[in-house]
Symmetry: C2
Subunit: 244 residues, 2 copies
Amino acid sequence: MTVSRFVERLGEFVPLCAREQAALGRLEERQRVVRRGATLVREHDVSTELCILQSGMMMSFVILADGSRQILRFLFPGDLISLPSLVYTTAPETVAALSDSVVCPFDRAMLAQLAMRQPRLFLAMVALDQAERVMLTDRLAGLGRTSAKARVASVLLHVRDRLRRFDGTVGDSFVPGLTQEEIGDATGLTAVHVNRMLRQLEEEQLIARESGRVTLLDERKLIRAANYVDRLSAIDLSWLPPAA
Amino acid sequence: MTVSRFVERLGEFVPLCAREQAALGRLEERQRVVRRGATLVREHDVSTELCILQSGMMMSFVILADGSRQILRFLFPGDLISLPSLVYTTAPETVAALSDSVVCPFDRAMLAQLAMRQPRLFLAMVALDQAERVMLTDRLAGLGRTSAKARVASVLLHVRDRLRRFDGTVGDSFVPGLTQEEIGDATGLTAVHVNRMLRQLEEEQLIARESGRVTLLDERKLIRAANYVDRLSAIDLSWLPPAA
DNA sequence: CGCCGGTTTGAAGGGCCTCAATCGGCGTGG
DNA sequence: CCACGCCGATTGAGGCCCTTCAAACCGGCG
């Protein structure tokens, strides 16, 4: 058994006792490879399984009636996938791999068991999930009320922060691993316009680009232009009851 | 003590034993009135309290750097307010009353206690919260990929469904209780354009209006035009472990 | 009666889209 | 080894959806 990504993730914010770490480890006993471009769950398909992303990068999205796609979320190692299957037997969103990935699937009954036996741990997981919810509302506000340039900048900052959290060596320069069409589907724009916004960010000396690699030249200004907030760095789980 | 709205709400989807109902009741022991227009929590303010909305209608929103507002969510009786305060000591969004409302505030420590002592109940609450998350992603997709007309229609359908769920007598005709500016701030549009979209929906015989009251004339077509899904009617909590 | 918040309507402008063509990198098959 | 095909990036021209600005209208309430 490899390292539990979820223990890593949660452990950043709250100390976990051995018993709790073991419980989380049981969620990651099975492994499944998802190749770049392949889909893990398809919208409307029946699915009562959850997953933890072990390695790679994925996304969840929906396809609308007119065929357009809206990317809901980018997924990184340690992220919990398809939590909505706790309430719906049919998946509300498609999950697909942006790069070769490994996921650890487990049944929702296992999560129920964990909630019953390790309530403190479950509480911590729920709390952390609220951070995801807030990031979702950040993006909602971005789509509703900010310019195309701001939305594109926001995606760059978000992906950089998530990559860095998993791999500390990532600095101002990184490879997003997204096509301009994917950035567009995440920001509600066309690939064409994403391209123009990237060029504009480049002309304003906010970023530099070379063959897929992006460098943030003036992070301060970029954050301001994007209306960006790093929600992961403000998390506080210190109020949790102490481990048993 | 009045009826627990939260028991009503959760009880729609899963049977609750007496012990569980009592535990929920304890969350609603204190009451606080919030007048129409008043704000319960302000963004960036320190707040470790949660609330359950007893009666009335509220909204949560953020104000962006340029002063524009994005409404994140409309709140109805039985809804859990400011769950994000489980992870953040400072509120990520403002909560204000759209009509005279009553809320029941309780500390997050009480929720932690409930999670520890009534894990099944807490699991049910978390599952139900996932439905909120999915509604949020529906709105995200709406903002990113649907027309102004669809977004406005979607708000009307959403509010009608929520009102009806609380008051069964609500039919195709109802009073949204929202200004056109509020609808605009929820859909990422200007009040002016919301007005034009309402007129257009009226001209197409999809809705009728008279002094604040809206009547849905062709719900089928409206749902299709709005890309709307009623996420509350598809909820399935039957897999929950049985009550103790 | 006169204010005030909300609604309604018009005209003009801009941000982003659509359509379309070119270009570059890379894997594949000849 | 090279030609081809394909996907993604890039760039241009034109158009539409929604915004901005402005003014008139309406109902309610002091």
